[in-house]
């Protein structure tokens, strides 16, 4: 019964911080120690005996089952990594106990979600994540943040209602909410009439939380206005929770085509908006969308290698996106703005370590060897079958490179020592997986999996993608076209969720 301790320890520490405010900072350290020890036990070969647990001791059909599979291991590793980086980042800053409490609840619910094996538990934890991240996004109580997080809450809550309808349809037809039982029921009768409806409701509901266009139109505002440490956690970690649920659903329902189409729309749409964004944090938020596209395309391939590629890319994206967001926070602190033109103009005020962190993150997200963006993308490129997937992945790469080329002037001189970046240790923590990704990947997924990295064709291809990205960037700068921002309004976003649900249902029913 060690497994439930992983999320529960955070809840207890959060409650300790509520009861005894002076201990708030100490609970962060305690949480890190507990997580490291538990994760170490879980990842070691001796940890197999704690790979499953049933909370409260009920039978599997109605109990809350937790399991530590490869997906959970991968994301728990990411969770602890980002937790460490964020704790270091906020350590020297003035933080109120409430912030620490919410942080503990956020990380605790993330851990509970990756371990969950039944639909209703997932519904409850997704709602908990919504509530906690809603409070954290608007932590500074600036008006932009309040409006962004209110939009987020309304849309996420509506999405979760759709998810709950899906849960009800599943329960009515299967009589159980555990993934194992649902999978058996679907296998027993793959043509049953309830399957398209249940799958469409569940996928549409969770897509609102997973950063998928056209469901997650709240994301750019919420992720770009939140405090930097929170943006890093939301983009690096919390958005993956929707993806985790989608991975679990894709193992049950036949979602290949739906995921491919959603992935293409998400990746290309996110990249187009990112290219024309003039604000660093907003651009990073749009890029969260485009990188979720990679994960969806990988999931739609439904092979073993592609599934491992998705996990590896989730880990890689978490590390470099968190690094970029944390560095963007320091840029905001030193220059007073994250506007890209202003930033480039005032680049001599940005500490050198921050600029180095931004450079490393940019190289990693562009997919240049030997950083983790490339190492994680290579298996995805190798596993994606069919010309359609290959072209979609190439377009994602070009879009990513094109939008990050505009940061290039930031890395020109002069290189004078200005100010200290109090958070450079957290950049080092996040830079470790970016630089040393190959051994981590081999340890997690085995040696055969990382072979595509050595493939010369894929290496040349990713260099070519970055080159074409530069051309696209130059052309786009000449044209100055900007896609409409009115898409991200509350009403449009609500309509988009409903239309998206109808489209998914039609696809599952008739295709």
């Amino acid at each position: 019964m060690i497994l439930p301790l992983l999320p529960l320890s955070h809840v207890f520490l959060g409650l300790t911080a509520i009861a005894w405010k002076a201990s708030a900072r100490a609970t962060l350290i305690a949480a890190l120690i507990i997580d490291t020890v538990l994760l170490g036990v879980a990842l070691s070969p001796a940890g197999h005996w704690l790979s499953e647990a049933s909370v409260g001791g009920w039978v599997d059909a109605i109990g809350i089952r937790l399991a530590l599979d490869s997906l959970a291991r991968d994301l728990l590793l990411l969770t602890v990594l980002l937790e460490l980086a964020v704790v270091i980042y906020i350590w020297r800053r003035h933080v109120l106990p409430t912030f620490v409490i919410l942080l503990q609840f956020l990380i605790g619910s993330v851990m509970a979600l990756v371990l969950s094996q039944d639909l209703f538990n997932i519904y409850v934890i997704l709602e908990l994540l919504t509530l906690v991240s809603f409070l954290l996004v608007a932590y500074d109580r600036q008006t932009l943040q309040i409006w962004a997080s209110l939009k987020y809450l309304i849309l996420a809550s509506a999405g979760m209602s759709i998810f709950l309808l899906g849960v009800a349809v599943v329960y009515a037809n299967v009589g159980s909410l555990g993934f194992a039982a649902i999978g058996q029921a679907v296998l027993a009768d793959p043509q049953a009439g309830w399957i398209p409806l249940a799958a469409a409701l569940l996928v549409a509901g969770v897509s609102v939380k997973a950063g998928i266009l056209t469901f997650s139109l709240w994301l750019p505002d919420a992720h770009s206005t939140a405090p930097a440490a929170i943006s890093a956690l939301l983009s690096g970690l919390v958005i993956k929770m929707g993806v985790v649920v989608l991975i679990r659903l894709a193992a049950i329902f036949p979602l290949g085509l739906v995921l491919q189409i959603l992935g293409a729309i998400t990746g290309i749409g996110g990249a187009i908006y990112a290219m024309s964004s003039r604000d660093l944090k907003q651009m990073l938020a749009f890029h969260t969308l485009s990188q979720i596209g990679y994960l969806l395309i990988g999931m739609s391939a439904a092979t073993h290698d592609a599934a491992n590629g998705v996990l590896a890319y989730a880990l890689a994206h978490g590390s470099f996106k968190a690094l970029l967001f944390l560095a963007a926070g320091t840029v905001h602190d030193t220059t007073g703005s994250t506007d890209i033109d202003h930033m480039i103009h005032a680049r001599h005020q940005i500490p050198l370590r921050t600029r180095a962190a931004l450079l490393l993150g940019t190289l990693a997200i562009m997919g240049l060897p030997p950083f983790d963006g490339y190492i994680a993308k290579a298996p995805l490129l190798a596993a994606a079958h069919g010309w359609a997937n290959q072209i979609i992945l190439l377009l994602f790469g070009i879009g990513t490179a094109a939008s990050f080329w505009k940061l290039l002037p930031l890395f020109r001189g002069p290189y004078r020592r200005v100010g200290e970046d109090s958070a450079w240790q957290s950049y080092v923590i996040l830079a470790l997986p970016i630089v040393l990704f190959l051994p981590i990947e081999r340890a997690l997924f085995g040696t055969a999996f990382s072979l595509p990295v050595m493939n010369g064709f894929i290496a040349v291809e990713s260099l070519g993608v970055v080159g074409i990205g530069w051309l696209v960037y130059r052309i786009h700068r000449r044209i100055q076209a900007r896609p409409p921002m009115s898409l991200f309004r509350l009403e449009t976003a609500t309509v988009a969720i409903l239309v998206g649900f109808a489209a998914i249902y039609a696809l599952l029913k008739f295709a």
Binding site: D140, R141, L150, Y171
Partner: protein, 139 residues
């Protein structure tokens, strides 16, 4: 009136809720619509395994009487609590918005937020310790 059961009422409530969420501009009405959508989910979950003549699953039950499935009723309790929390928190945030803009009209708030974003993008104050500090509006 056999069609007028819990499931169809839940569908109707969901339709009313989403329509109101889309076409009404008042933020408070939008939140009420959200409450309606959430309640429709709860009603749907409760009524989906219910048949007429079933009794509530509270012991003791007379033998031979069909009992309603207790699991959805247990699940619904958590859903109700969650929806209460969401509604309460979002109303607090609407109050914060009303304090600043003196309006609950979505269009007007959206315009005001947009213009605030523009001014922030052009001239942001140089202030190095703001990342995690709460900013209370003096008003």
């Amino acid at each position: 009136m056999g069609w007028l059961n819990g499931t169809t009422i839940a569908m109707i409530l969901f339709a009313i809720g989403t329509t109101a969420l889309i076409i009404r501009r008042d933020l408070v009405i939008k939140l009420l619509a959200l409450g309606l959508i959430n309640s429709s989910g709860i009603l749907f979950l409760i009524s989906i395994r219910f048949r007429p003549q079933m009794v509530a699953p509270i012991l003791p039950v007379a033998p031979g009487v069909p009992i309603a499935d207790p699991l959805p009723q247990a699940l619904v309790l958590s859903a109700i609590v969650i929806n209460f929390a969401i509604l309460a928190l979002s109303l607090v945030f609407v109050m914060l918005l009303v304090e600043r803009y003196h309006s609950t009209d979505c269009e007007r708030i959206e315009h005001a937020v947009e213009s605030e974003r523009e001014t922030l993008g052009n001239q942001r104050p140089l202030d190095s310790s703001r990342t995690s500090q709460p900013r209370r509006d003096p008003r």
